[in-house]
Subunit: 130 residues, 2 copies
DNA sequence: GACGTTTTGACAACCATTTTCGTTTTCGGC
DNA sequence: GCCGAAAACGAAAATGGTTGTCAAAACGTC
């Protein structure tokens, strides 16, 4: 495991939310690192392939990454303001998705489930801005 | 409603699956239309804003669109080979997502749920290629 | 038919991501 | 410690989907 990749992994784990490659690059550079953007992308790709980080796409198509605590299958509750994310599980949803697939004759059924909302602190600060 | 937008809507409704803007543009051009790519994007944007088509992002960030039969909230079971999609509902999932959000103090809770699989006909043709 | 408005499409601009390629670093063996 | 191969790096260029710009064309109205 290279040093650079470790740096990316750590930068990612310092956040509880989803971060984009560009974000992480900016963070690392501002800390004084001489890392290149290419390397950030490569590291994220590798971490993603290894299943060590979760990836999802924002509504404008940008890829965002998160270092999750568990390596078992799970989903996220994501704050649409600050990006903060909570890992959630839903055994019932897993079974439902599987059975829906089977009902329609689909095989190798997988699914993506993400829940979005405004977290308590973002809701509070939005309130105070009025 | 302009003629061009109508053409895009129709091209989209001729497919049961999700199509990208580039796909639709190619379809229309091959039918002899002189439509421009810009206009296809504008039409899709407008249809999407109006809630007349559903949008989602492929894993590589491309936006894909589908003309759905119902205008009520629903999800999709999508074939990862041919893109064919079936509209599905899951009241239990809706409630689950809402309650998960509330449990963690999130407000304005929404969610995205997509189920992927290989449809029967794609599975069959994959089989015959062996 | 003239005129203001809306729609259109060619083209350029954007921007996240990937590729290229020459350089640097790492590492096992000596 | 020294060498050479292999892996990692980073700057710059390329890619590709999507959006912005702007002048021309289509439309409706009087």
């Amino acid at each position: 495991m290279s040093t650079r990749r470790e740096a990316v992994r750590q930068a990612l784990s310092e956040s509880t939310g989803f971060r984009s490659a560009q974000d992480l690059y900016a963070d690392l550079r501002s800390e004084g690192s001489k890392i290149g953007l290419t390397t950030v992308y490569r590291a994220l790709q590798a971490l993603s392939d290894a299943g060590e980080v979760d990836v999802l796409r924002t509504s404008d198509g940008e890829a965002v990454y998160r270092a999750c605590l568990t390596d078992t299958h799970h989903h996220h509750l994501v704050c649409r303001e600050c990006g903060k994310a909570v890992e959630i599980e839903g055994p019932a949803v897993e079974k439902w998705a599987e059975s829906i697939g089977v009902q329609h004759g689909f095989s190798d059924v997988t699914h993506t489930v993400e829940v979005f909302g405004t977290c308590a602190s973002c809701a509070a600060s939005a309130q105070s801005e009025r």
